[in-house]
Amino acid sequence: MKNETRANLIKQGAIWAFILVELAFFSIAGEFLSVTETAFMDFDNMLLLLKQSAPIGIIALGMTIIMINGNIDLSVGATFALAAIVLLDSMTWPFMQTLGNWAIPLAWLFALATGVVLGAISGLIVWKTGVDAFIVTLGSMLGYRGLVFMYNGEQPTSHLNWTLVDFAEAQFLGLHTATWFLLGAAILLWLLMTRTVHGRNAYAIGNNRDAAVNAGIRVGPHFLWNFMLIGFLAALSAVVFYSESGSVNPNDGMLYELWAITAVVLGGTKLSGGYGSIISTLGGVIAIQLLRKGLGHIGADTETVNLVIGLILIAVLFLDRQLNRKGKEELRT
């Protein structure tokens, strides 16, 4: 039994070990190859890294829950863009402009509500039709992206509110606003998944759906809640990011779903559901951002970065498989 606890610890610690390896590698490689003078492990650099992790990170946290539940959500990128448009555009509405700075929380509310509603639509369809979440959210991804383009054509939607920018750029205890949102969401969701009945049932459903149904767990409502949650998180991610940037392109958020899934899988969550952890996903998000920044630091261009991340993802999952084998006693496949 002790062995199993240890194996479990190794499993959950693997992503953090990987992060340490990355840090060491880029620090040393940076000494020789760096295009700038600053060290890679610079404190400000690391803070910035956390902040830059936030948009995809917050979405990836939601994706973890969806995937533990045995589903997948491909529509988060489009939800992200649509929520961003609602956030920025709503502040230009005449009645909102009369409210002064009170328009800000209201705009946030609108954006977050948008996310929840979009998530609820996907969730309801998955629940009521029984169609696989992959197909349903593939459809809603296309549909929501269509709505994004209908809103303003190919034009970007912009509105810069300086109070908002100040808030988004603020640092509290050294950490940026976006980082606080990421960490806060991670802690709340971790509590949700480990401490609540909803969270534990989500694991059970993803692990063995028939068993859950036989035990009287109502699978559909759990799906709906989780899709609403990921919609909310996608919108929250948009709120955090666009409060600062103030302009959204209709193509923004594309491929975010895939980056989020990459982070979740790197963090060790099973694609088939039933196993995974919010904290490990946080590790996955940071690991990816470290790779991007680190490769940039030693002078690689974006194309190379994506190639390397892709290769590392496959390598890591292969390694994971090898480590989990039981040696010669295992069945061959």
Binding site: E4, V197, N201, N208, A215, G216, E329
Partner: protein
């Protein structure tokens, strides 16, 4: 007993599926404190009846009474709340979760804000596990438990409520003898608390050991109820299948050919060690032992699924190394696996495609798969093995267990093997089909195949084998011929007692 109110009464239950009348006016009465066996061949409607009772299926007609109150079971949860608990035959556990979470699945104790009350959960689970006398704790991950222990978790689920009636659907299918004793104690305890127990099993010796009455279903119809004390196996069997059954020891012998398969000193890690035996053409060698003795692992090694760490395998006198199932098939070894549904068949495919699966790449007409050749093979083995199916288009998942097993056997026979390994040939198969499969195995040997049968059921091993290899924790304890074997000596051998007491 007659003046008591029945714990549970079913009256005139009818359940139809498109094209089938699965249950046809079935009535059943279960008294409190009674163990009531429900028997019938696979496909007789037992499972359907229990699903109706457990709230998984809604009946088309008929009424369920709990303590004479008419009741409608709307869901499994609803049934459980009314005190009717269904312990599934196929494990329905979430293996990434802990034992405690699985036992209380769907009804985790709650604190404020929907938080799980872990303290209460673990306390209550520990209390239940204590009554079951098992060797694992509430916090153990279910996936780390053995199959038998997982079955105990499944049983523990029944004890979370004050049940009025508990349905056990083949609970002993994967339990060892020691664990069976614990299970029977649990059942006796339920009985003494006035709970009505419905016990579904194909194993006669269990039925006669623990049940009070036996009700029999055949083809969806109620055939009658017998008092266990006043009946015998023959009568029950006759009621079930409408004819008598031959359960005697294997006596027929036929000419044995040369040695087809010989294994010398085969080992695989800690799974089994230094295993040597040989099988001749026309011979059935039975492997008997407890679950976990390493029998299945030997079969998997012979079939190329595991890499042996030492030892040699000889086929027809020639040393071979088998690296994959494809290798094994090419050399004439076939394996009918233990888990029919999980390893032997593709349930969502039809009968023909399942049967021709290993050779479909050879059955081509130009670039396409030749339908005619496939159907021809299917027809040949359907007739040969007497597979009862409406046609080759029938999905395998809709067949009864016996017919499914025949499809698997037919699949391998069509590959014309030299050595046929059959792992638990009759697990979860009803009595009637069981003897058919036994006869089939004997017949195959008579035709010159070398057959290895792995089984956990002593009557089965005794019935089909020419020789019996007894295994205990990864080692061959002793080899018996059909003439010299006795039940006692066999039990001693598989318990690791050979040599010292004899």
């Amino acid at each position: 007993m007659t003046d008591q109110t029945p714990a549970l009464r079913l009256e005139g239950i009818v359940k139809t599926f498109p094209g089938v009348r699965a249950l046809d006016g079935v009535s059943l009465t279960v008294m409190p404190g009674e163990v009531h066996a429900l028997m019938g061949e696979n496909g007789a409607g037992k499972s359907t009846l229990m699903k109706v009772l457990g709230g998984i299926l809604a009946p088309n007609e008929g009424q369920i009474f709990i303590e004479e109150q008419p009741t409608v079971m709307s869901s499994p949860m609803n049934a459980k709340a009314k005190g009717v608990v269904f312990i599934h035959q196929e494990l329905s556990l979430a293996d990434e979760l802990t034992v405690a979470e699985n036992i209380f699945l769907g009804e985790l104790p709650k604190k404020s804000f929907g938080r799980v009350d872990w303290q209460r959960l673990y306390d209550e689970t520990d209390a239940i596990l204590k009554t079951l006398n098992v060797g694992f704790a509430a916090r153990t991950r279910v996936g780390d438990l053995s199959i038998a222990n997982q079955q105990m978790v499944e049983i523990a689920r029944a004890l979370t409520v004050e049940p009025r009636a508990v349905i056990f659907d083949e609970p002993t299918a994967s339990l060892t003898d020691a664990e069976k004793v614990v299970l029977f104690e649990v059942i006796a305890d339920l009985q003494s608390r006035g709970v009505g127990v419905i016990y579904i099993s194909h194993r006669m010796e269990e039925i006669f050991k623990i049940t009070d009455r036996i009700s029999v279903l055949r083809d969806g119809q109620y055939r009658g109820t017998l008092n266990t004390a006043e009946t015998n196996e023959e009568e029950v069997t006759q009621l079930m299948i409408g004819r008598t059954l031959d359960l005697s020891r294997n006596e027929s012998t036929h000419e044995l050919g040369e040695v087809a398969l010989e294994v010398r000193g085969l080992s695989c890690g800690g799974l089994f060690e230094d295993v040597s035996f040989s099988v001749r053409r026309g011979e059935v060698v039975g492997f008997y032992g407890l679950v976990g003795a390493g029998r299945t692992e030997i079969a998997e090694t012979l079939f190329g699924l595991r890499e042996p760490s030492a030892g040699t395998i000889h086929l027809a006198g020639e040393e071979v190394s088998i690296h994959s199932p494809a290798d094994a098939i090419k050399r004439g070894i076939s394996l009918v696996p233990e888990d029919r549904k999980g390893q032997g068949l593709i349930l969502g495919m039809n009968c023909r495609d399942n049967m021709t699966l290993p050779q479909v790449s050879d059955l081509t007409a130009g670039p396409f798969v030749s339908d005619g050749a496939e159907v021809a093979i299917f027809d040949q083995y359907r007739d040969k093995l007497d597979i009862r199916t409406p046609g080759w288009r029938q999905l395998v998942g809709n067949l009864s267990g016996g017919n499914q097993q025949k499809i698997v056997i037919g699949k391998w026979l069509s590959m014309r093997p030299e050595v046929l390994i059959v792992d638990e040939p009759t697990r979860g198969i009803d009595v009637g089909s069981k003897s058919e499969i036994h006869n089939l195995i004997r017949e195959l040997a008579a035709q010159g195949y070398a057959v290895i049968v792995i089984s956990s059921e002593m009557p089965e091993v005794l019935h089909v084998s020419d020789r019996i290899v007894a295994m205990f924790s990864g080692r061959v304890m002793r080899e018996f011929t059909a003439e010299e074997v006795t039940e006692d000596s066999l039990i001693q051998a598989i318990s690791g007692l050979t040599g010292k007491t004899a």
